[in-house]
Homo-oligomer: 484 residues x 2
């Protein structure tokens, strides 16, 4: 069965990769429109399967549609191809100079795994699928067992768009099955890249499999992180109450089931008591909403039960496991010295649980920064003079994350051109990439150079008269001009 899937995908690839950008964009728009017109069918099923509220799922469908349309617009426009042209010079001495033209081409069939916490935006027609299809790669999508019906409904929308666009069926193949099926997909010789969002263990296992293949392939696994928040005294002096409230809101949003959930906050000693009081107050009445599935709730409460055995912690709010499916939030205080002494205090607990780490001095913060694992995001709350005083700290924090925030909270990942959703290991397996935003398309492309290719045969992106009117680098300069 796996061989058949990849035969179909490989055959489809050789046709699909040559589809002009505007037609590929039309196909993506058709997927988006089909999803939108099936909203009333998809939303209740996704709500039922994920326990997420209807408003959130409706918003997520909008985001999913928006992402697909962002990629459609990029592909229609075409500058993402990084067309680079060094025109030839037959009169160069001592040797004539060849004409060399470089652009990105799609890598081939991509295996995509969905995420339980985003049954739409990071699943069947989510960002990974959309960006792979946008780049010109067929997608073999492994449905997530937490939302099987949703996945099939969404896959049907994509199948419909494939059919109506007269594309080969192998452009998108929906596969159901267990871990063994996922592993077989990653190991198949015709797979050229893998995209995954989920746990560290899941992502790392796929990375290891892919690295051990006869032909190793890239795995873009977004595995989450604890998204530390650093707070400085002057800022807290003026804004402690609203910041504590913003922090708790971000921590408990959707029962903390976000990759960018801020599970770690560093607070200066002189404000610790006040911050503790404010967060305790803010957390007091939050019961937590149902988690995605019982297994996730079970892991959440088990992790908290473990930390309850640790003497280093003082509990500001204890989770209430009464309703096992609800992710009751929890917050524990620890000194920086104790936090530094054991890496277990920077492990991700998926859910609305955080460590409030009380620090004594800037020196301690530097030690913390150096010890910090790779993160999707780091947030720094300080007044400008404080930020400048802590330039050396921020210099190190840059090395530890993919996105560095100076206002607001890390949850709520904007889908745009400048977004970076990815970061140093172990937050992802490939910090050179992003899984959100327009640059995500480049994960599934690689450069090729055509040397002295006859004008007739050149792809439109590289033709002399620039029929796509894209931005190209010609002799090193960015331009939309034609080549003479």
């Amino acid at each position: 069965m796996i061989d058949q899937i990849f035969n179909a995908a490989t055959e489809a690839f050789l046709q699909y990769k040559n589809l002009p950008g505007n037609e590929r964009a039309d196909f993506l728009d058709k997927i988006a429109d089909t999803l939108e017109s099936n909203r009333s069918k998809i939303v209740p099923v996704a709500v039922k399967e994920s326990n997420l509220p209807e408003g959130r799922i409706n918003g997520e469908l909008g985001r999913t549609v928006g992402q697909i349309k962002l990629f459609a617009n990029m592909v229609r426009e075409g500058s993402w191809l990084e067309a680079t042209i060094d025109p030839g010079d037959p009169h160069r001495e001592p040797l004539p100079k060849a004409d060399i033209r470089r652009m990105l081409i799609p890598v081939g069939p991509v295996v995509v795994f969905g995420a339980s916490n985003f049954p739409l935006a990071f699943s069947t027609a989510g960002g990974d699928t959309a960006s792979a299809l946008a780049s010109g790669c067929p997608v073999i999508y492994k449905g997530h067992p937490a939302h099987p019906e949703t996945s099939i409904l969404v896959a049907d929308c994509i199948h419909k768009a494939v059919l109506e666009s007269n594309l080969p069926e192998g452009v998108f193949i929906h596969v159901e099955g267990g871990i063994d099926v996922g592993q077989a997909l990653v190991q198949h010789p015709a797979a050229k890249a893998v995209a995954f969002t989920g746990s560290f263990n899941g992502g790392k296992a796929l990375f290891d499999l892919a690295s051990k293949r006869e032909e190793p392939i890239p795995v873009y696994a977004e595995m989450g992180s604890v998204n530390p928040v650093f707070t400085f005294p002057e800022k807290l002096e003026n804004e402690l109450i609203p910041l504590a409230q913003a922090y708790v809101n971000s921590l408990t949003l959707g029962s903390g089931q976000f990759c960018t959930n801020p599970g770690l906050i560093f607070v200066p000693k002189e404000h610790a008591e006040e911050f503790e009081t404010a967060t305790a107050q803010a957390l007091k009445d939050i019961a937590g909403s149902p988690m995605l599935h019982p297994g996730i709730a079970k892991s959440y409460y088990e992790a908290i039960a473990y930390y309850q055995t640790r003497n280093e912690l003082k509990w500001i709010k204890v989770a209430d496991p009464k309703h096992q499916i609800n992710g009751s939030p929890a917050l524990a205080q620890i000194t920086a010295a104790d936090w530094l002494a054991d890496d277990v205090f920077q492990q991700e607990v998926f859910g609305a649980f955080a460590f409030m780490v009380v620090y004594d001095s800037p020196n301690e913060l530097m030690e913390i920064a150096k010890k910090l694992h790779g993160q999707l995001t780091i947030t720094v709350w300080g007044d400008i003079p404080e930020l400048k005083q802590n330039a050396a700290l921020i210099n190190i924090l840059e090395e530890k994350c993919g996105r560095l925030l100076f206002q607001g909270v890390p949850t709520g990942v904007e889908v745009g051109y400048a977004m970076q959703h990815g970061g140093p290991y172990p937050s992802t397996t490939d910090p050179r990439s992003t899984s959100v935003g327009s640059h995500a398309i480049k994960r599934f492309a690689r450069p090729i150079a055509f040397q002295d290719m006859p004008e007739d045969l050149l792809p439109d992106a590289l033709k002399n008269d620039n029929p796509l009117k894209i931005v190209r680098q010609v002799n090193g300069k960015f331009t939309v001009e034609k080549i003479n």
Copy 2:
């Protein structure tokens, strides 16, 4: 010792990464100038250690200097940073939009391994070192045992430039030692990327080590390939003699010791005899020049001795192992059917040895294309109508290489903006990258997004008034304009 090296490199990194582009460019220029002013000292030593002729080494030094200056110019100009800005909008409904600004930052200390076949251009101050330093990464350079004195002379030039630029010593560290030292460098937790040019076994071993680290890191290993040449009948009808001569020249250049040496040529049956005669004639008087070192010559003759045991082959020219250090060229003919039957006929033999594969039909060519391993280059010699007829073949060949040539020969890799020197596995471990040309710098960088960063703190590349005057993507559009 390894710990000390990485402590120095890591400390240097935190300073060097923040050096403004123009100062980093000045530093690179200083390396280039110091190399140039030590030409008379370096060249004779490199000639002695590599057995390569003085003219070649002189040219290679020029190329090395040129590469460094290309990167200096890029870094001085600054658009390579891919600055991308999505300005914020506090009035957006339902939620204000954060200001997000993305750019590339250097990854950290890079371990570089030199290549024996380019003692200058792919070694101590070669393209890998130059591009890593250009991106803002310190380099830990493992000297190649085939040219130890050359390596030290070149390293001294870099050390001098470091000193004169008032940079910390850890910006460039020259390390001598065996395979165990190389392995220890790749395994050190502070290493963030590896660049290598050399054999498949060497590159793959480093890739495996790096994948198994606690924090896996990218390995950019350029491991060579057989660089197939496809010829079509009409083209040969008109140009067989000059093409056969060009082929032999490329095959035997520098005793075939190039990554892009064309070790495989596909010739249509109807022209096989004439092509055989022409190549035999062209090869007749080529004795071959001394190979890089006795070990390489030994491997070359051993490989040929193995192929002499294979009955499928008809020898057009047999290597003459009389002078073991000279790479006496060899060419063996085989039918496409026999070639297809055993992968051993597409293994790289480092040196001036090739298979001339005689094909019967376009169908056979399609089978060959599908079976072909990943290559740095593929060359297609055909008239335009033939190329159009073979569009389906070329469509597959694109999937198998990093550079596709339609004129000339694959040896002679132009250093420019559009060059792609890299290709699908096993020619490299990362086909998303190039080790030659301006894009090589991106191997050692990763994106970071700054969210709501105060203007005062923003790097110059992302400031509102665009002080670097670089091309940036603002709200999706490429522009040099300021942000209002």
